[in-house]
Each structure stands twice: as structure tokens, then as C-alpha cells.
């Protein structure tokens, strides 16, 4: 290694290993990031990306291996150490004080909190201007949109003089337009000679923003490639370890007949804020209705309202002109509707994390048997059937589901719900946290249900998937519908615009069709 090259390297990891109990999260990982470069860290969920970055930012400590910053070996014991070394991390989940202003959050924890507000404001504004960030330093966090909050996070690390920026899945919560804006900022940082590491599993973004890509698989650094010399297919292959078919099937809708009609539905969150505001739409048999929107636009409340977990403030959910709002689950089943709900929080709501598959199967069926006792035998058989059918990997049907991998957990949940042969299947972020293989299994299962004439609702975040999988897409923004469109007649950008609240002109036509 020549001295000159060494100089150009901002941060280097040599043989980093990290174990959690018997699990090896990182196995002798090597990683080099140069100054003035954007490196994408690509890998499926559970491949060890976040663990590695948490070690760079001082949250974890490696068991083996060394970290070099500017060619010097360092020990990073705490986030404070990381800050001193010029490493700044922007976490997936923002770490901001909601009731503080942007400025207060930015200076929080630095020695400069004692400065005059005017001086701090000037410094922040100067910093913002340099990197093209738009933010009002005096605005409170709780008034901000997700992308503004992210901007504050970025300013926070820049204010501390970060030269190495780590972003953990920064685009997961952004619209396509906001993503482009973020990338503009990252390019600006790069041109100032900073090193940027961006963690993501969205391939298109990797290709558009990064200079080089390091691929992690099962805790190992597989390869580092130059972005301009690779494409979606070669990257996927490296990430998964074998060639993968990347297209999602969309079988045609056969007979579009209405099963549920939602009229002027309004739902309040438990804290009293209006989560859904006067929403009307229909769900048809044998189609997949996608729901798009920035996180927190009312998707959760819509799902929970439909299945009766949240009380409805106003409006109706009609099944054959009969309003099912306020009816008990038993009364709803008597009408001939069987609704299944795959909640976003699988282990905290859909399943009991500390129980095994058998007891989780019982969750929906234990009441149907007569007498005071629970019969576990049918549930045991059901669990074994699901293991075979969906190829679920688990040490046993009584192993707590929280010990299973994310993909297998989702298979347990989906499998249980599908076995109850629903005619409405509501899924909230069903592939979140799943690896590519499991994700495609989920898409296939949903399509299978669609072919069985089940009405499927798919709340998703990846617009590419929504566009490929769904028949119609409904876009929510601040609890209002900003458009219901046919998926094959709309572009990603148009959906992105609707997510930020702009109504689409073609909307009236689509509604006319229904």
C-alpha cells in the first residue's frame, strides 16, 4: 500500500467481526471508503449492514478486527468518540426531540448550546446554504415532515464537523422527489471531499447515487464493485448469491365485482388527531388494491379501521348495502365476510412473539371449539401443514416465533390468515424486512389469493413493487385520498406527486370507471 493511497482513504475496516451470542453478525468484513466518494453498502436484511455501521459510529464494539480513520487505527467506544473522529451517522429512525426546534436539536449535546441563539442560527444557516439544505432553524420538529426531519439529522452531523457520513436506509421514508433532493445534497457533500456511506437495498438508487458498491451477504463482505460497471442483475446476483428472476407477476383481473364500499370514512388516532379524513373507495373481488403514501399518512388507521380494531368516527363500510361499522367480528362473519389482516407489527400484533407456532395458530381458532378447554391437536397439525406448504424453517412447532427469521415469521402469519380462507385480505407492509426470496414468496401468495377471487389490499412503500403487483393504486396524503389510479397507466413520478398532496387530473376519469 503506498502512502499516497493511504492518504486518500477516509475510513477502512479490516477483518471486523461481531458476534451476538452464537450469531455472527459480521464475519471478517473489509471495507474501504475514499474521500470524495459515495459508497453504497448493499445487502439483504440481516446481512450485517447496520451492525457494521453501528460499530463505526461507536454504538457497538467489534470483537475482532480494526478500524482505521485517515490511516490511523482507532478505538471507537461511544458515539462521542465517533463524532470526534468526524464520523456522523443518520439513523433509519430519527433521534430527535420532537418538542425542540431544529436549532435546539442540532446543537444538543455539543458545547455550543450556551452560545447566543443568533450566532447559532447564523452558523446553521451558513451550513445549510453551503450544502443546499432548506430548513427553518426555529421550526419545531413536530411540525416537520419526514424529509425535513431527515434534513435536521443531516445538519446535526454536519454541525459536528462530520467528514464521514453514514446514512442508514435514508430513502425508505421519502417520496421519489424527496429522494432526488437528498441525492443532490449527498453529491454536494461528495464534491466537498467528504466520504459518504449509504446503506440501502434499493438497487435503482444504488446505481444512481454511488461510485462504488460493497456487497454484504450473511455477514461477509462478498465483493466491492465499481457502480458504472454493474447493473441491477449483477448486483442482485451478488446480493442473493444466485441469479434471481426480478419481475413480479400480475395476473389479469377476471370479473371485477365490488365486495366492500367505503363511504366518507373518518378515523381518529388514539391521541385525537384525525388520521383518516373523509375517505371513499371500493374494494373489488379478485384484485389487488395498492395503498401508497408517505409513512404515517393514515395507512395504519385505514387497515385497523376496516377490521374493526379502531373505532370509526364517521362514515360507513358497506357490504351489500349493509353497514359493518360497529358490528362485532361474529356479526361480520355471519354476513359472509371473512376479513384477514396482516398487520405491520407482526410480532407485536399479528403474532405472540413468545409463543410457538402451535399456540399462534390457536389465536384465531381457539374460540371455535366448544367447552372450556383449548384443543391443541388441530393447531399442531395446521402448523405442520404450513411448515410443509410454505417451506417454513424452524427448529420445531413449539419454538417461540421471535426466534425465527423475519421471512419465516411472515410466512407463519400469512399462512395462518390464508388458511382461514378470507374473502378480504388486508396486508400492511407485508415484505418489510424480508429478503428478496421471501418477498417474492409473499407476492406469489398474494397473487394466488387474488386468483381465488379474494380482494387483497396491499399497503406498500416500494413504489416499483406497487406498480408491478397491484391492479389499482390508491394514494393517501395526510389522511386524504389524492388519487386512485390504474397501476398500468401511471408513472412512479405521478404517484410521488400524489404522495405529497397533488391531485392528479386523470383521477376523475378513473373514478368514473368504477
Amino acid at each position: 500500500m503506498t502512502a499516497q493511497k493511504e492518504n486518500n482513504v477516509a475510513i477502512e475496516c479490516r477483518g471486523i467481526t461481531k458476534r451476538f451470542g452464537s450469531v455472527v453478525a459480521n464475519d471478517k468484513i473489509n471495507l474501504t471508503v475514499r474521500k470524495g466518494e459515495i459508497l453504497a453498502l448493499l445487502g439483504e436484511n440481516g446481512s450485517g449492514k447496520t451492525t457494521l455501521m453501528n460499530m463505526l459510529s461507536g454504538i457497538y464494539h467489534p470483537d475482532e478486527g480494526s478500524i482505521l480513520v485517515d490511516g490511523r487505527e482507532v478505538t471507537i467506544n461511544s458515539p462521542t468518540d465517533a463524532t470526534k473522529l468526524g464520523i456522523g451517522m443518520i439513523h433509519q429512525h430519527f433521534k430527535l426531540v420532537e418538542v425542540f426546534s431544529a436549532m435546539e436539536n442540532i446543537v444538543l449535546g455539543t458545547r455550543e448550546t450556551l452560545q447566543k441563539p443568533k450566532e447559532m442560527k447564523a452558523r446553521i444557516e451558513e451550513l445549510s446554504a453551503r450544502f443546499g439544505l432548506e430548513i427553518d432553524p426555529q421550526e419545531k420538529i413536530y411540525n416537520m415532515s419526514v424529509s425535513e426531519k431527515q434534513t435536521v439529522e443531516i445538519l446535526k452531523v454536519l454541525y459536528r464537523g462530520a467528514k464521514i457520513l453514514i446514512l442508514d436506509e435514508p430513502t425508505a421514508v421519502l417520496t421519489p422527489q424527496e429522494t432526488e433532493k437528498l441525492f443532490e445534497i449527498l453529491r454536494r457533500m461528495k464534491s466537498e471531499g467528504n466520504a459518504v456511506i449509504i446503506i440501502t437495498h434499493k438497487l435503482n438508487e444504488v446505481l444512481s447515487i454511488s461510485d462504488r458498491v460493497t456487497i454484504l451477504r450473511k455477514g461477509r463482505s462478498i465483493e466491492t464493485v465499481v457502480t458504472s460497471e454493474s447493473d441491477v442483475h449483477s448486483l442482485t446476483e451478488l446480493m442473493v448469491g444466485r441469479p434471481v428472476e426480478l419481475s413480479i407477476d400480475r395476473p389479469p383481473v377476471e370479473n371485477r365485482s365490488e365486495i366492500l364500499k367505503v363511504v366518507n370514512l373518518s378515523i381518529r388516532k388514539p391521541d385525537g388527531a384525525l388520521a383518516l379524513n373523509d375517505v371513499s373507495f371500493t374494494i373489488n373481488r379478485g384484485e389487488i388494491l395498492g395503498i401508497a403514501g408517505v409513512a404515517g399518512s393514515g395507512q395504519k388507521e385505514l387497515c385497523e379501521g376496516l377490521v374493526g380494531l379502531l373505532s370509526v368516527e364517521k362514515g360507513a363500510i358497506l357490504y351489500d348495502k349493509e353497514n359493518i361499522v360497529g358490528k362485532t367480528p361474529a356479526e361480520i362473519i355471519d354476513l359472509g365476510i371473512s376479513m384477514s389482516f396482516i398487520p405491520e407489527d407482526r410480532l407485536g400484533m399479528g403474532l405472540v412473539a413468545g409463543m410457538g407456532m402451535v399456540e399462534n395458530m390457536l389465536l384465531k381458532s381457539y374460540r371455535s371449539k366448544k367447552g372450556p378447554f383449548v384443543k391443541t391437536q388441530p393447531a399442531r397439525e395446521q402448523a405442520q401443514r404450513l411448515i410443509k406448504r410454505l417451506e417454513i424453517v424452524t427448529p420445531g412447532v413449539d419454538t417461540p416465533v421471535r426466534m425465527m427469521s423475519g421471512g419465516n415469521v411472515q410466512k407463519v402469519l400469512l399462512g395462518r390468515e390464508i388458511e382461514s380462507s378470507p374473502n378480504v385480505l388486508i396486508t400492511a407492509y407485508p415484505v418489510r424486512g424480508l429478503d428478496i426470496n421471501s418477498s417474492y414468496t409473499v407476492y406469489e401468495l398474494l397473487n394466488e389469493q387474488k386468483k381465488k377471487n379474494v380482494a387483497v389490499i396491499y399497503v406498500g412503500e416500494d413504489l416499483d413493487v406497487l406498480l408491478e403487483l397491484c391492479d389499482r393504486i390508491m394514494v393517501l396524503c395526510h389522511g386524504k385520498i389524492t388519487g386512485i389510479v390504474d397501476a398500468d397507466k401511471v408513472t412512479k413520478d405521478e404517484i410521488g406527486l400524489m404522495m405529497t398532496g397533488e391531485q392528479l387530473q386523470s383521477e376523475s376519469e378513473t373514478e368514473g370507471e368504477n
Partner: protein, 367 residues
């Protein structure tokens, strides 16, 4: 790798790391190790007091079994502790922190004592079931109060049940002083002794409450493991959101379970009043409801383990009293010894879940 290292800061010497699930055998070994350490530490304490640790320990164990009467006393100690431990287990399984077994036990005893004091002319075969029922209702209702407030207003059940203990205790003080005071007793106020019809008969020389306790042990074990109600309790305890998702009526389950939890403590109160003390008294519960919390946790909410631990506690209790009289020690001595043993046994639970790792240079972990 080069040996020259420049460090930006010093590494922490010790780290606490969460363990993966520990194997059953390993956990058991650790618990026995903790018990051994406790005995050693207790031994040092005994030595400092100028006695032989082996002599004291031997007396402790033999004291609990040395005679038929000693064994009977040990069993008698077990009855209220077993019942209240089962009582809090029902609530704890639901993650409802019922610290009020003490009060619920007292209320059970108060309700039962009403019949024992004022209807002792009823035939034994009628009076005892009525008193048992009264104990169930008294304890159950007293358990229901915090559950009602929690489901309606979201009050904190820990504080609520804790404070209710004092209400129950001082209710007994009031009853003893005024309305239920024994008029035939001169001098200071006290309750009259129950008539013979109101006393539990003895089986094998011990009040028949032990049969009730064993029946409740089986009943609670079956209820928790094999019934729909028991399943609902576990689901609510694990995650209320999941319970609601599955269509369970969480409020109803909480109310029902807390009534049952209180009822089992109420039975303990009735059994204690009717079988052991022969009347109501201020010391009817005597802290058993609090010890039950420790027993339930040590037994990991498993009825069979709880039975074993209750037995050990009763042996320790009886054994200490024998040690006290044999070696002429103060009552505090036994309490200190019990405290030392509990400290180690409870402390080892930390090491079952976490381990402490010392760091060596270069970020390498000594394993």
C-alpha cells in the same frame, strides 16, 4: 497486524452483554451455584456471629423435620404462601402487577370471619363452605377494584394494589377496636375465637387447608395451561395489541383474571383464619402476600416450581425459628440470613440473562 497502536480513547474494562437463550441445564446449574454461594456467604456471617455455620445449617434443616410437630408446622407455613403465590401468578402471567395479595388475603379473612364470628351456630358442613365462599368473594372483589380502575381510567395497578393492602389492614384494626370487638374480653380489644363449627378440621394432624391448597395448585395449573381462559391470559400478558387483534375482550379478561387472583388470596385468608389462627387478627397475613411475589418470580410462574419453592421457604421459616431458640439468637438474625440467601438467588437471575465480558487490548474479547 502491526503492534503499534494509537488509541483515541481507552476501552471500558467490563461490558455487559445480553445472552442468547440459556439452556435449561445450564440455568439450573447456575441457580444451584448461586444457592451454594449464598450458603457460603451466610456461613461467613454466622461465623462472624461466633457460631458454627455447619451447626446452624444442620439445625435449620433438621429443625423443620425433627419431630412430627415440626413437620406439621412446616406444612402449616406452606398453606397461605402456596395459595397467595398461585394468586399472584395468575395476575403476573397477564403482566398485571398485583402487589395486593396481602390485602386480598386479609379481605378474604374478614369476609369469612363475619360468618365465623356471628353464625357459628350453623352446622359445620354448611358454615365451612359458606366461609370459603365468603373468602372467595371478599378477596375477589378486593382484587376486582384495581382492575376496574385500570381498565376504566388506566390507573397504575402496582401502586393501587399496594395501597389497598393498608386499607384492608386498617379495616381489621378498626373492626377489632369497635364493631367486632369481643365484649366478653376485658382489657385490650381483640376478636373472639371462632366456635368449633367455624374451624377447619384437622387431617393428619394439620388443618385441612392443605387439601384446599393442593386442590388449588392443580386447579390453577390446569386453568393456566389447558383452558381457553388460561390461553387468553398468556396472550394478554405477552401483547395486548395481539389480544385485541385476535378479537379478545381485553377488559373482560383483565377483570375476570383479577377477580380470580384475588379470590385465591381470599381463600388463603379464610384458611388461615379458620384453620390456623382460629379467628381474625391483625397479623392474619403477616407479609405472606409479599413473600408470595418473590416465590412466584423464583418459580417463573410455573405452579410446580412454585410448590417446590414454597416448600423450601417454609423449611427456611420453620428452621430459622428453631435456630433462633437453639442458639439463642435474635429474630433479626434469621431475617438477615434469609436476606442473604434471597440476594444471591435473585441476583443470579441477572447472570442467566446477561454475562460480563472483560476486554483485552485491540478490541479483542476474552471469551
Amino acid at each position: 497486524m502491526e503492534n503499534v497502536k494509537q488509541k483515541s480513547s481507552r476501552e471500558a474494562l467490563l461490558h455487559i452483554i445480553k445472552r442468547q437463550e440459556m439452556g435449561k441445564r445450564q440455568a439450573t446449574a447456575l441457580r444451584f451455584g448461586a444457592l451454594l454461594l449464598a450458603l457460603i456467604a451466610g456461613g461467613v456471617f454466622i461465623l462472624c456471629m461466633g457460631h458454627s455455620p455447619f451447626g446452624v445449617y444442620r439445625t435449620m434443616v433438621s429443625g423443620a423435620f425433627r419431630s412430627k410437630m415440626a413437620v406439621q408446622a412446616t406444612v402449616r407455613n406452606m398453606i397461605p404462601l402456596l395459595l397467595t403465590s398461585l394468586s399472584v401468578t395468575l395476575a403476573f402471567k397477564m403482566r398485571f402487577w398485583n402487589i395486593g395479595a396481602e390485602g386480598q388475603m386479609i379481605m378474604g379473612a374478614v369476609f369469612a370471619s363475619y360468618f365465623g364470628l356471628f353464625h357459628s351456630d350453623w352446622p359445620h358442613a354448611v358454615l365451612i363452605p359458606v366461609m370459603l365462599l365468603a373468602g372467595i368473594v371478599g378477596g375477589g372483589l378486593f382484587g376486582l377494584i384495581p382492575a376496574l380502575f385500570k381498565t376504566k381510567f388506566g390507573t397504575n395497578e402496582t401502586l393501587f394494589t399496594l395501597m389497598l393492602n393498608y386499607i384492608a389492614l386498617y379495616l381489621v384494626v378498626y373492626l377489632e377496636d369497635r364493631p367486632w370487638r369481643d365484649p366478653s374480653s376485658p382489657g385490650y380489644a381483640k376478636f373472639a375465637i371462632f366456635g368449633n363449627n367455624a374451624k377447619l378440621s384437622k387431617v393428619f394432624g394439620v388443618q385441612s387447608g392443605w387439601i384446599i391448597a393442593l386442590v388449588m395448585l392443580v386447579a390453577v395449573a390446569v386453568y393456566m395451561k389447558y383452558t381457553k381462559h388460561g390461553y387468553e391470559i398468556s396472550v394478554v400478558g405477552e401483547s395486548e395489541a395481539t389480544a385485541r387483534y385476535a378479537g379478545m375482550n381485553v377488559k373482560k379478561i383483565v377483570l375476570r383474571t383479577m377477580f380470580l387472583s384475588g379470590a385465591v388470596s381470599g381463600i388463603a385468608g379464610m384458611v388461615q383464619a379458620s384453620g390456623t389462627t382460629g379467628t381474625l387478627s391483625q397479623g392474619i397475613a403477616n407479609g405472606v402476600g409479599f413473600t408470595a411475589i418473590i416465590v412466584a418470580w423464583l418459580g417463573r410462574l410455573n405452579p410446580v416450581s412454585i410448590f417446590i419453592i414454597t416448600f423450601l421457604f417454609a423449611v427456611m421459616e420453620k428452621g430459622s425459628s428453631v435456630v433462633r431458640s437453639t442458639f439463642n439468637l435474635s429474630e433479626a438474625f434469621a431475617s438477615v440470613l434469609q436476606g442473604i440467601i434471597l440476594f444471591f438467588v435473585l441476583g443470579c437471575e441477572f447472570f442467566i440473562r446477561y454475562r460480563i465480558v472483560a476486554r483485552k487490548r485491540g478490541g479483542k474479547t476474552e471469551q
